[in-house]
């Protein structure tokens, strides 16, 4: 995984609450056997009409949303299934961070493994972000802060190991493979 230290982008605001993984990537697109190309189907049923034409009123289809890497969503983002296709689709589309007041456990874990930053902010900050689509935000991983356009830095929680992996481009599988001696010791111990 590539290391990530900072990110700067305007936001896209999707005010829906409890956005589930079936909305992020509907099940009919899960028949793929690769990770790539899912961005085309991101939010497919909100983004396209029955004939596959983009719905002009959906936020991602607006001209000002193009090129934005930060998605601000309503409360509780990413609930539902464990499909890693959800962060794969968001990343493939071009998002690098998702901001909400709460992010579902499995989605958050999957996002971090793909370099997609799950950023949890307080209600007041969240409310401001929802009201200001297109706000230019900075994200700094070292200090785990989100910088608002007025320069105010809002801290967000980030599990220390996840931060370490993101900052240094550390691959978790490599880390686990490096624990082989402990794994063998555990297997001997649990068989005894």
């Amino acid at each position: 995984m590539d290391s990530i230290k900072t990110l700067r982008s305007r936001t896209v605001v999707l005010p829906a609450s409890d956005v589930d993984t079936d909305q992020i990537i509907p099940a009919r697109f899960l028949t793929t056997t690769t990770r790539s190309g899912l961005g085309a189907h991101l939010f497919a049923d909100w983004r396209y009409d029955g004939d596959g034409a983009p719905k002009p009123d959906f936020v991602l289809n607006r001209p000002e949303a193009q090129g934005c890497a930060i998605l601000v969503a309503g409360n509780n983002f990413g609930c539902g299934s464990s499909r890693e296709h959800a962060p794969w689709a968001l990343c493939d589309y071009g998002f690098r961070a998702v901001v909400s007041t709460q992010i579902a456990d499995i989605f958050r874990a999957n996002a971090l493994k793909n370099g997609l930053l799950p950023i949890i902010v307080d209600q007041a900050t969240h409310g401001w972000l929802l009201q200001h689509p297109g706000a230019d935000l900075g994200i700094d991983l070292e200090s785990s802060t989100l910088t608002l356009p007025d320069g105010r830095a809002v801290p967000f929680p980030l599990e220390p190991f996840a931060r370490y992996c993101l900052l240094n481009g550390v691959d978790e599988l490599g880390f686990l493979l490096g624990r082989e001696a402990q794994i063998q010791a555990y297997e001997r111990r649990s068989r005894a």
Binding site: T31, T34, S81, R83, E84, N110, K113, L176, Q182
Partner: protein, 465 residues
Amino acid sequence: MKETLFEKVWRRHEVVAETPDTPAVLYVDLHLIHEVTSPQAFTVLRERGIKVRRPELTFATMDHSTPTRTEQVFGGAPIAIEAAARQVRELEVNCAAFGVELLGLRHSRRGIVHIIGPELGLTQPGKTVVCGDSHTSTHGALGSLAFGIGTTEVGHVFATQCLLQRKPRTLAINVSGKLAAGVTAKDLILAIIGRIGVAGGTGHVIEYRGETISALDMDERMTVCNMSIEAGARAGMIAPDETTYAYLAGRERAPQGMAWDEALEHWRQLPTDVGATFDKEVHIDASAIEPMVTYGTNPGMVIPISGAIPQRPDDAVFAKSLAYMGFEAGRPVAEQPVNVVFIGSCTNGRLSDLRAAASLLRGRKVAAGVQMLVVPGSQEVKREAEAEGLHKVFLEAGAEWRESGCSMCLGMNGDLVSKGQYAVSTSNRNFEGRQGIGARTLLASPLTAAASAVRGRVTDPRELL
């Protein structure tokens, strides 16, 4: 030190305990895989030249994208969706290449992964069980710590038999009182989700406790634990007891002979110690619960079947959800006309669920214009149901009787609800488009679903009991 069931299972699987800087390395006893979330993990193994470390602890089946029409499963007809057929073939190739046991498409013990794990006796108290599927929480009904993982983590388990995990917090849901006639485990878990909300369990492992839970049989316990994820919880668990041991005894992959006696001794140590504490506790009175039905687009949007859709005048998100459903605030949900009824899924696809549905359909007909699909959770459930003649009850009532699979729960295999149609479904998610683009799902118990099929509208099953 006093410990909860979860804490005991967690501690016994710590290869390396967590520190402030690093998560725990947690050992996995049982890894279940299926065709949809495994291909990309096998690809990583190939790219990096890694073997499956303990292939005998991984177990594969196919369920999500597989057909339920007999001719496509057994009759030599091609699988209608080409991409699904490719996933099925790819799982066959991957399992053969990496030495993983597979219950393939035509295997007599195939079924939904969360139905067959317990059914075969693979799922056991005190085990850690993971699968690339969020409804892995089902297996917690047997006192295992079971949770869904992503595909990258599937790769981690393949390669190391371990996962990096932060220890979740604990949430006790204490349930007392007797469930009334016509009120089922499905109604109980829907009422719990309605109470704590779809994010109420985030970051927590739930332990369902109390006299009501102890009185549930294993199928009912699995229904409850299955929907833990619908409350956002990492996992749901129920302490093993005599009901659990009686269920497991003699199952194909359960310990036998002396190994059984040893296992039993270990399992009896697992229940939460008297005096152990939880991070959070909730109390539920089961005797006050009615048959429950959802009216919106997440499982927390749920009301008693006699109730009216709530009013939240200033909530735009709520209004959008009702608009999708074609519902108005303040209106009763009962009497809503129904187009489709689906009985099945890892939530309610077990034998007792089919018996419950059949009990209301016996001697009755599915209402004109209603499509009713009955999909057993496994081929074993199908055989047992047929041995009791349940399939005849369904077929004579005018329902369809299919081969096992996830089917209309998520519609990956082409079993879909059409745009704008109302489906009363025994599955677990009423998200927008879950059962088909524009489909409107009302989650309910098998009794409520069957009663609604007979009347052609959302019906309190107690009217037909």
